[in-house]
Assembly symmetry: C2
Homo-oligomer: 396 residues x 2
């Protein structure tokens, strides 16, 4: 029987009802501008202050180290362009990885056009960078190291603690160098503490953790010099101009508070569903590769290549059965090239083209997994029958 199963939680998540309740008053009676001095303004201001506190707690920061933004992409741009433009006199070299989100990659590429140097460190077949390789790319004029906490396509966890410590040691020795991490996929799924991990700047997004799209935050450690990008009013202590998005900021704060409290229970639930799915899919479908299967990765992402088929074919077939998944990331959809992240793993082209991301969320159930396992094998088999690239291996 047809049912709708949403397995694209790494692209975006449904809004938690408790988050919706928290934001609604700021779309109705409490509509003030948080920069206004009067009663209506104070109501809005106190919501923003509370959200700042809640957001900081989730990542072990202090409230005044949180800058609210319009989302993960703006956070990444503000971090990277902000640090580099704000510290020009110290150098203009950036070390990053080959598997960053387009927001980080795009901001770095723009700075490159403007004359900065960028070194992109590759990953192993496990989808992880080696900390020593990252640090050996650091030069005298490196001002920023940007390495994501967890990859958005395959979920591989990066060694941010090691990199953070190494960058901090350099800074303690007098180098002007800072460590940024795009933690958009990691925050709320695994414990992330900016002090334990020696992170100087951290990007996060509301809509990956059951708040609406259109709000995010950037953690900026006290003392980091940042050139603001959205110039305007004095909002966010001059680090991000523009009228505060009060309702969605309240939503982000609430989502962070809920994540702090429920992160373990959610991770357990989601991991159990994903494991059930992966055990089932390995049993039911031959010639597949689960990327990063043996390595440290997020609990919610399962990125699988089905040999001989196009990932997009699988996506469309599943969609007709009510199941929502993705190929690559939503931010690069529409591209006909295989995902650069999967290619960076050293996977052969045929396998790379067959990659599909299944991403689980707290609202998924065992019945969702059962339905998926009931639909997926036939979908892949039918596509393979039509594929000139797929020849059944002898004996299978």
């Amino acid at each position: 029987m047809f049912r709708r199963v949403y397995l694209d939680n790494a692209a975006t998540t449904p809004v938690d009802n408790r988050v919706l309740e928290a934001l609604l008053p700021y779309l109705t009676e409490k509509f003030g501008n948080a920069s206004s001095i009067h009663y209506y303004g104070q109501e809005a201001r106190s919501a923003v202050d509370r959200a700042r506190h809640e957001t900081s707690l989730l990542i072990g920061a202090r409230p005044n180290e949180i800058v609210f933004t319009s989302g993960g992409t703006e956070s990444d741009n503000l971090a990277i362009r902000g640090v580099v433009e704000g510290n020009r006199r110290h150098g203009s070299h950036i070390v990053t990885t080959a598997i960053e989100h387009p927001a980080v990659a795009g901001a770095c590429a723009r700075l490159e056009e403007a004359g900065c140097d960028v070194t992109r460190v590759g990953v192993g077949s496990d989808g992880r960078v080696v900390p020593e390789q990252v640090m050996s790319a650091v030069r005298e004029d490196t001002v920023l190291v940007s390495v994501m906490t967890a990859n958005n396509e395959i979920g591989s966890l990066q060694p941010v603690a090691d990199i953070g410590r190494a960058v901090k040691e350099l800074r303690d020795a007098g180098n002007k160098i800072w460590f940024h991490t795009d933690a958009v996929q990691a925050v709320g799924k695994i414990a992330v503490d900016v002090d334990e991990l020696d992170i100087d700047l951290l990007s996060m997004s509301g809509h990956k953790i059951y708040a609406p799209k259109g709000v995010g935050a950037l953690f900026v450690r006290k003392g980091v010099r940042l050139a603001s990008q959205n110039l305007g009013g004095h909002q966010e202590r001059g680090r991000r101009g523009g009228t505060e998005n009060v309702a969605l900021i309240a939503a982000l704060g609430t989502a962070c508070r809920l994540a702090s409290k429920e992160i373990d229970a959610n991770a357990d639930h989601i991991l159990r569903l994903r494991d059930r799915f992966e055990v089932g899919v390995r049993k039911l479908i031959p010639e597949i590769a689960i990327h990063g299967f043996d390595s440290e990765r997020l609990p919610n992402i399962s990125n699988i290549s089905f040999r001989g088929v196009e990932g997009e074919g699988v996506l469309i077939n599943l969609d007709m059965s009510g199941i929502a998944v993705s190929t690559g990331s939503a931010c690069s959809s529409g591209s006909i090239e295989p995902s650069p992240v999967i290619v960076a793993l050293g996977v052969d082209d045929d396998l790379a083209r067959g990659a599909v991301r299944f991403s689980f969320g707290k609202y998924n159930t065992d019945a969702d997994v059962d339905y998926l396992l009931g639909v997926l094998p036939a979908a892949v088999e039918n596509l393979r029958k039509l594929s000139p690239r797929f020849r059944t291996a002898p004996g299978s």
Copy 2:
């Protein structure tokens, strides 16, 4: 009897119930990422497409000339930095005015730091620039003229049609020069048509027209080369990366559709309230100046200086009586200097310090005006009694 009267509609407006209804489905069941290919993504995509159409209609543009942003400040930054950075080879001189919003002023100042030249044209006592003065500041290397449609503090309308025509003539003659207008305060209050006014880029904001804070749009005329500022995914045809803020974009679209339909009725209602207020206040309170009283201005703003008192004192007194007004703009609140806009009018310092902005909205009523006129005279009189600066004029 105490009542709450909101007269700070130029800072932000309440959300229209019909706008709220239009956005809510995108915070609940229709939560997809508009860049996803599947069912959930298509639902979101169609909401964004519809909103793009509705938004374009309000200003006489074509849908693909609309870029959704996080608000007016981002729109201003994208327009100004985008045009200048995208057209470096044609020059780096900007002509703007002395009374722009901090978002325009801030973006220009940042470009100035980066080596661009900026000419700021002053205004007369009516708060308006003279088109000939603006155009005589244009040089061979001018790439952008940025003049607001209506001032945010006193509501004075700028001669954008004349400036737009003159810039277009220069471009038709082969100059690489474009015209941007910050129309955040004007859109939805007066008719603004980008073709009639020969506007190349126009900034607008949702929360000034009864949509929520956190969403805006930039009109970019087809053919204008723009360096995007939020680098990332291919959203908004590569002009603005980042997951689309689907719910608030739907809200903006609906707000634009309602504004198109109701602009005349709203303007009539608001103008009638403001006129009643201004007639009353002139009768009841001596030694005041209504800025731009005799000149073309928005229907909703009344900016009045009360000689001998601080605007902030009036604001706080009125707030205690439940009335919300502002001094300067919300974006520059907290500043102890008199508003640069009021100073630019050539008003003496004492009068400049006593400026208060009353801004009316469609939900205000005659009873609101009556209440205000009941409270304001005593508030000003009491403040003047305490003021060392105020001496009652002989005979009054």
